[in-house]
Structures are given as C-alpha cells and as structure tokens.
C-alpha cells in the first residue's frame, strides 16, 4: 500500500519518458506529457505552495479551467501534502455574483487556506475570500518564480495512508457544503478493486471529456490512469459538448479502449454527430463504454449501438457502473465479463408493492439495466424501514460498506454521523438485488440529476423564491425524465398572486433567467400557477413528489 505522491514519484523514477497524458484543445496540436513532464509541472506548483507558506493538510481550492495547469496544480498539492479541491470554473452563463456566493459558502464550511486561480480572475476571487480563512490567493501567472524541487523534499511524502488526500464536491449551495474527504488509502483501495473489475491492463488507453470536479472525471478519467500508468487522452467538457465527435476522433487516433459517459451522452452523441464527421473513424478498439453517474437506460444503449456499430463499435463494449464520490468512485460494475444483464420486471409491482418481480418482456413491463456486481472490496445490501435488510427483488435503500469509503464530510460531523448506520453508508438511492447484481430504480433523496450533475431542488427553489412576483416559499422544483435527451429536465412551478397572463409570462421568464444564471443547469419549463395550486405536506412543507405527480397528470390531460 502506498500514498498518491509516492506512487507518482515511483512511476516517474521507473519510466520517466513514458507518455502518460495527452491534452487536446480545438485548433491546437495535441499536448503530450511524459511522466517526467507531469512531475516537473506538479513540482513547480508544490514549490509555489511551499514558498507561499501553505502547509501540508491545508486545503487548497483550485479554480482553473480544464487543462494542463489544472492537472499540475492538483498534483502539486498532492506532492506538497496539501488537500486539493477542484471548483468548477465560471461558465458563460453563470452570474459572477452567484459564483462568488457559492465560493464563499464553500469557503465558510471548508475553511481552506489558499485558492489557486488566474491573474484576470484574482479580483473576483478576492471578493469572495475577504475576511475568511483564505490566507493566500495564488496566481497561476506568478508561478514562473517557483522552480522544481528535488524529489526528497516533497512534504507530501510524509503523509500517512489514512490522511485526507483530496476533497470532492457536488454543485449548488447544498452540494458545496458537503466536501467528500477521501484518504490516500481509500483512493488506492478503490483503484485496486476497480482496475480488477474492469480487467485493466497496461495496454488500455482511456479517453475522457469529463470534468475533474466530478467523481467520474476525477477518478476514472484522471487519477486512476495516472496512478495505474495507463495512457489518458483528455479534452475539456466545454469543447466536447460543442463537438461531440471529438471523443471518437480521439478514440480513433489513440486507439482508445475505455471511456466513461453519463447516460445523456449516449443520446447526445447519437443525435448530434453527422455521418460525414464519422467518415474514416474506427471505434473497434473500444472494449468498454461505461455508462455511469445518472440513471442508465436500455433505450440509450440501443440508440448508441445502432448509430455507431457501423463504425466498428462492438456491442459487447456497452457496460454499466454504479458509483458515488462517497465510495471514491465505483460501487459496482457490469458488462465487462458478460453483456449487461437486462431484467424485465412488472410495472405495477414496482410502483405499488416495491417489488421487482420478473415479467414477460413487452410494453407492459419495465426493462431494467443491471449496474453489475459489487466490486471486490465493496458490500451492498438493501435496507427497508428501520434499517431492516431486505431480500432479493425487494426495493429499498441501497447501503454500502467498503474499505474505500469517505473519511467524513469535511468539517461536517453532523452530516457524517447521519450518513452512516452501523458502519454502512446509506446512499439515498433506491434499488434491488437479483442474482447478485444491483439495479437502481430511483432515489429516496430529493435530488435531480441532469447530465450526470447532481442538483438539489432546494437550491433551485431558493433562487426562484427570490424573484419578484413569486409568492415567497411557494415554489417547487423537480426532475422529469426526458427520453429524447436521456436525462432529466428540470421543471419549476411557482405560485403567484398575479393573474394577468402576460405578467405571469414575465415572471416565468425572470425565474428562468435567475435559475440559469445562478445554477449549473438550464431550466426546461417554468409554470406560474395560482395561489393554492401546490400541494403541501401535513407539516406545511411543499411536497415535491406529490406536486410532480400533479404536474405529470395535468401534462397527460394537456393542461400543463
């Protein structure tokens, strides 16, 4: 067993000239990095932290765009023994004020010591860090003043295996307050178990467009290949989303064998890439395209396969994975040894009896895509009310136990304590087990997943609540699955005393704009309704599920 800095240094000593990373940017030559390049770049950052008085165990927030500096800064923190946390960069639509508020709420909980960012973003960051724990705003452009330090001087080498290596956050005010703290040991245990689960070999080449502030991108699409010494080809999610064919061009050029995608990306690639863009592209090297991080749909796999089989995509490459940051990454993996199992279950039993009873495959039944078997170090059970363990095909909350679980929600002992029950982590996801394989049917927590991003409805509702014309506290936000997109649409319903339809439309537009600019998502529909429309619980809270049902019923009747 080892710590992250030791593994990086050992890899570099063993094969300094090995090509380990390729970074792609539009209209630019691919940037190739060897182990030595990676170490040199990271080393300069480690020294930069050191000369700025950053101590091991200090938390460092990294606010950099996807690219070589983000990678160097991350590894620099690791070499120095500091705890990196990658924060998404400001996007084209986010309002700077909202971004600043999010950063500030993160800082208040996490109490970081430093932030690394660009010179032209320094003023913005400083506004958020005034009178907080942050002692240093480190500017990427000033890094030339630092130089690489000899190997033995890295303070990160003193880190214990059970020390915290990094923090991961999901987005939004709620998500930012839950920094998942992961130890070196947890990360290495996960990688050891997961590489076995996917039969990783030295020949595997990983292609990723995933962001590094998300567990799938950070672990599968970055840390694992660096630590297992597999070639990794990376591109920015912002470049990929504007030209999704880039993923396949990279597979073709570098003979990629593995890639991880959220479910929506299957639909997105299938519908947005033109035939002429695919000319000459060979996908036959891909041995696993792994669906992960949002509900996985059989239809999405079908669309993807039909579209790309003519370009050499092997049907057996379709794979699935159930993962969460709290277990570092994977809980289970399917589709590697055998094709992904399909389980046809009775729709009525699923809805009314919380049972997954086998059914004849037809339009009446629900086709469930297996998330595979638990990886070797992780145990999974299904629990019902009062924590009682349920048997096969009973639907309940998924609980996990492993040697790679989070150490804590950083600085949040309250959240940490409530997340565990007798050492088992309660995931908040609902599902069942059949023949040793895991199936995810829904969520216990009110959580919307859009394009793989976890969105807390209360954050969206709070934004809508601040809009003039919306009756305070009378707002609900929820997700509705969109088959065409392969992910959820966000719907917002707000009560208003305004009855004039034109004025109502104006309020709806303001709500839409406020949410778009103050969150990571774009809202699909905003409905302004009369007072008393929304259903409340007996305790007076807005009932999200009941209002979602009401909305769907009205949609069926053509009145939503």
């Amino acid at each position: 067993m080892n710590t992250l800095p030791k593994i990086l240094l050992d890899a570099c000593a063993a094969a300094p000239d090995k090509l380990i990373l390729v970074l792609q940017s539009p209209r630019q030559e691919d940037k190739w990095l060897t182990n030595q390049d990676l170490l040199n770049g990271a080393s300069i950052y480690a020294n930069f932290l050191s000369i700025n008085g950053i101590q091991p165990d200090d938390v460092v927030i990294i606010v950099l765009q996807h690219g070589v500096d983000l990678i160097y800064a991350f590894w620099g923190c690791i070499l120095h023994g500091a705890i990196p946390s990658i924060m998404p960069f400001l996007t084209e639509k986010l309002s700077p004020e909202h971004y600043r508020q999010s950063l500030r709420s993160l800082i208040e909980v996490i109490q970081p010591t430093a932030v690394i960012t660009y010179a032209n973003f320094e003023a913005e960051i400083r506004k958020a860090t005034q009178n907080t724990s942050v002692r240093a705003v480190l500017i990427r452009e000033n890094i030339q003043s630092a130089s690489a330090i000899p190997n033995h001087a890295y303070q990160g080498l003193e880190r214990e295996e059970n020390a915290i290596a990094l923090l991961q956050h999901s987005s939004g005010t709620t998500g930012l307050q839950k920094g998942v703290a992961l130890s070196h040991r947890a990360i290495m245990n996960q990688i050891q178990a997961y590489r076995n689960a996917i039969h990783l070999t030295a020949q595997d080449v990983i292609i990723s467009w995933l962001p590094l502030y998300h567990d799938m991108g950070l672990i599968a699409g970055f840390l694992m290949p660096n630590l297992t010494q597999n070639l990794l080809v990376m591109m920015s999610p912002f470049d990929w989303v504007k030209s999704p064919v880039r993923l396949f061009q990279a597979v073709h050029r570098y003979r990629g064998t593995l890639t991880w995608l959220p479910n929506f990306a299957y639909n997105f690639c299938a519908s947005k890439i033109r035939d002429r863009e695919m000319e000459g592209i060979d996908l036959s090297t891909l041995r696993a395209v792994i669906n992960c991080s949002e509900p996985m749909k059989f239809e999405s796999h079908k669309i993807f396969l039909t579209r790309f089989q003519p370009y050499g995509l092997d049907p057996s490459a379709l794979a699935t994975c159930y993962a969460m940051a709290e277990n570092v990454f994977a809980v289970s993996q399917g589709g590697i040894e055998n094709p992904v199992t399909l389980d046809w279950i009775n729709r009525m039993d699923l809805i009314y009896h919380h049972k997954a009873n086998p059914a004849i495959p037809n339009g009446e039944a629900v086709c469930m895509l297996s998330a595979g078997k638990p990886i070797s170090n992780t145990k999974v059970k299904i629990v019902g009310k009062f924590g009682r363990e349920l048997g096969e095909r009973n639907i309940g909350e998924i609980a996990i136990y492993s040697d790679c679980m989070l150490t804590e929600y950083y600085q949040r002992p309250d959240l940490t304590a409530s997340a565990f029950q007798d050492g088992w982590y309660l995931t908040g996801d609902l599902g069942y087990i059949a023949n040793g394989e895991i199936y995810i049917t829904g969520r216990k927590k009110d959580l919307i997943i859009v394009g793989g991003k976890n969105i807390y409805p209360q954050d969206i509702e709070n934004i809508a609540n601040s809009v003039a014309g919306v009756y305070p506290g009378r707002v609900v936000a929820f997700g509705v699955f969109n088959d065409e997109l392969g992910t959820e649409d966000v719907i917002v319903i707000a009560e208003s005393e305004e009855t004039n339809p034109i004025k109502r439309r104006e309020i709806a537009e303001k709500v839409r704009l406020a949410i778009n600019q103050s969150s990571d998502i774009s809202v699909r529909q905003v409905l302004i309704v009369e007072r008393g429309w929304l259903i409340k619980t007996s305790s007076g809270k807005i009932a999200r599920l009941a209002n979602r049902e009401k909305y769907l019923k009205q949609l069926l009747n053509g009145s939503a």
Partner: protein, 83 residues
C-alpha cells in the same frame, strides 16, 4: 436579414425552449443568459447548417462570437456572402 432573424427566433422558441409563446427580442442575450445552454448550442449550429447552408464552427459557439439574434444573423450573413 429580417427573415433570417425571424426564422432563428422561431427555431429557438419552438425547438430549443419549447415555449412557442415566448417573444425573443433581437438583442436579447442568448448564451450569457443561459437561454441556449451548452447542450443546445450544437443544435443551433446544426440547424443553421441545414437551413442556411453555412457552417458555424464549434470554436465560434461562444458569447464572444455571438450572444443575440442580431449578432448571429450578421455571422450567418457574412458567411453567406463570403462563400
């Protein structure tokens, strides 16, 4: 030019926003407002290619190149006339 803008406004309100009753102003921000989110930028590019026969490069899909209908119309116009 006016025809191009009307056509684009119709596409955006009907196909992207799915709110046909929305009136989109020619100077209304599209990208910086999140009206067209990152997942739909490519739809807009594909539509323009099919409808007007000009290609908007993926590197042009940002608010620096266009952020409202007027600017988008000018981009399409300049590409049509420079062909």
């Amino acid at each position: 030019m006016e025809e191009i803008l009307t056509d684009l406004a119709h596409y955006i309100t009907h196909q992207i926003l799915k709110t046909p009753d929305k009136i989109l102003r020619n100077d209304e921000p599209l990208i910086s407002s999140g009206i067209i989110d990152s997942f739909h930028l490519i739809d807009l590019a594909l539509y323009i290619e099919d409808r007007f026969g000009v290609k908007i490069e993926d590197t042009e899909l940002n608010r620096q190149t266009f952020d409202n209908l007027n600017q988008l119309g000018e981009l399409i116009w300049s590409k049509t006339t420079n062909r």
